[in-house]
Symmetry: C2
Subunit: 81 residues, 2 copies
């Protein structure tokens, strides 16, 4: 049993309207000195796979096929256990 943590973030240069909305809301609440807010996704999953390399390959395939839009998003996979 392994736990995989996947971070999916927009590539640099891709407009991030959610991040912009957060930045504006923070400014409206009086938080100054905040810059460059970017929102991404964070996905945790458990795998029955026990081999680290096979687990990484599997999660990589999941990212390519479903979790990330690789045209505009980057992803990072961290494995544990």
């Amino acid at each position: 049993m392994m736990r995989a943590r996947v971070h999916i973030t927009l590539k640099h240069g891709v407009l991030d309207p959610q991040g912009k909305a957060i930045a504006n809301a923070l400014a409206g609440l009086g938080f100054a000195g905040v810059d460059d807010v970017r929102q991404g996704k964070y996905i945790e999953l458990k795998l029955e796979e026990t081999d680290r390399e096979r687990a990484r390959a599997k999660v990589d395939a999941m990212c390519q096929k479903l979790l990330a839009n690789t045209v505009i998003e980057n992803y990072r996979i961290d494995l544990e256990g």
Copy 2:
């Protein structure tokens, strides 16, 4: 200048329909042995603050007031720089 990374995840026991949808879609694509999928948010921001403690307190206040719904969500703050 510091960079803050915030992970916002649903508390245990809170139903996660997005995670469920991902789990079903993965099963439909033929990925077996995947369990307990949870989706959270990942927010990166830059702060002009240079004092670590003050930066943490500021981001903590942002989470309490805007970024997280603390009734159903947990958050974790990582600072860098």
